[in-house]
Amino acid sequence: MKRLMTEMAMVLGALVYAAHGAGPAAAETFITVASTTSTQNSGLYDYILPRFTTKTGITVRVIAVGTGQAVRLARNGDADVLFVHHKASEEKFVADGFGIRRFDVMVNDFVLLGPESDPAVVGGEEDIAEALSKIAGAKAAFASRGDDSGTHKKELFLWKASGADPKAASGSWYRETGAGMGATLNTASAMNAYVLTDRATWLKFSNKGALKILVEGDKRLFNHYGIILVNPKRHPHVKVKEAQAFIDWVLGAEGQAAIGAYRIEGRQAFFPNAGR
């Protein structure tokens, strides 16, 4: 039994050692960025962040959630930088004193996907509002994020422009998944529904099923990404120096070039527009 005790003590010791290893390395400088699933799932961060880290030695930890939740995290001070795509929320964040200033970073666009069979006949339509009202008219299945994300807010904005009220049909043809972009795409793919997504996520998405792009190019489909330093007056622990270095890099020539150089299957996914 004594031997068993010794063995147990050794196991415990090993656990404590493992825990120590599991903690963040103290020497590493890092910042936390609250961002969106679209930027992460598209693979953009995997492409640009190593460049920044190589140059500055600062690691960037990305929390990829919906825009609504990302703003919430930043308000609570759980991130140093907010990097999302819903201008109104971002401006409110700054106006409320939680952020210093909003900068344009890049643009990509949303696309309307639907099944190849296209029951509402919206393929090739140039006016997104018109396409949506056709879907509503046909009562064709439409999958919505329903999660207060940037994409969801954009979708609601477009519905408003269409004059249709999908909320009234929630549960019948209008289906709110309350989930991330990927989960919603999986759902739409499984039930052949129309769905609004950002182009980058769609290009990178593997489980495409019978879905394809039906409407694109409408100016209202443009998707603006902004970056904001969390206000250190609100949250004194914010790593201002490192976070500012990141923002400067993203907005500077090097970062902008990196964003513009990123390709998904040979196509440019994000268009840098800082300072424009």
């Binding site: 493992a18 930890r61 990927g182």
Partner: protein, 234 residues
């Protein structure tokens, strides 16, 4: 069906290729869950034993609460831990959010009620059998605890394994408090969730198969250990 064969292919590729990222994720998963279970065991065993052996006002309510907490949704635990560890929360100053420590803490909260409740049952049954003998030898409930825990060790091992199963399989809590940060807080379950959200279902299922293999390995090792000890000590 192609998804399934793709998934096995992906799993095999992941394991045979010994992907460094995968090894890191597996390592972190095991470290987080083992440690959470170790702490939960250190708390759950004595608490469970105490509730088994002592009668006090409110005991029945505590029992019901403990059993109900076994079914605590991970997302709720994640949310509670997030609100606690957030910079805006009461423990925010420690900056523990989005670290493995936060994940360990959340899983510990999930697992402790399971271990405590199962321990309570094991020890209570054992005490019925042992009480007269132990009290005759001079051990009341308090002094009997170590002997009871030791004698119930095989049943308690099952309780601990149940806890480990829950810890290693849950995603809701670690996703919220860990943030699924690459190389920092990404574990098996959050990696699976990420691949699902990217639509790479085969890779997601492949990771799932690796996770199941790990779980099988841990349970197999525990079983072998128990068999060996049982042969030695009865």
């Amino acid at each position: 069906m192609t998804d399934f064969s793709d998934a096995f292919g992906a799993a095999l590729g992941l394991v045979l290729g010994f992907d460094a990222d995968l090894a890191e994720i597996v390592g972190l998963s095991l470290r987080v869950s083992f440690l959470a279970v170790a702490i939960a065991t250190a708390v759950g065993l004595p608490v469970g034993a105490a509730i088994a052996l002592y009668r006090f006002p409110g005991r029945a309510a505590l029992l019901v609460a403990m059993n109900a907490l076994m079914g605590l949704p991970p997302v709720v635990v994640g949310l509670i831990v997030y609100l606690t560890l957030s910079r805006a929360g009461p423990l925010g100053v420690f900056g523990l959010l989005f670290t493995p420590a936060a994940m360990i803490f959340a899983q510990m909260l999930l697992v402790t009620p399971i271990i405590a409740a199962l321990t309570r049952q094991v020890i209570e049954d054992l005490w019925v059998e042992y009480e007269e003998q132990l009290r005759s030898l001079g051990a009341g409930p308090g002094r009997a605890v170590p002997a009871l825990l030791w004698d119930g060790r095989y049943s308690l091992l099952t309780a601990v394994l149940a806890g480990f199963g829950r810890a290693s399989a849950e995603v809701g809590a670690v996703m919220i408090v860990g943030g699924n940060i690459d190389h920092v807080t990404r574990v098996m379950t959050t990696a699976i969730a990420l691949e699902v959200s990217k639509g790479d279902l085969a890779l997601a299922l492949g990771l799932g198969i690796v996770l199941m293999a790990l779980s099988l390995g841990v349970n197999g090792a525990a079983f072998a250990l128990k068999e060996a000890a049982e042969r030695r000590l009865g």
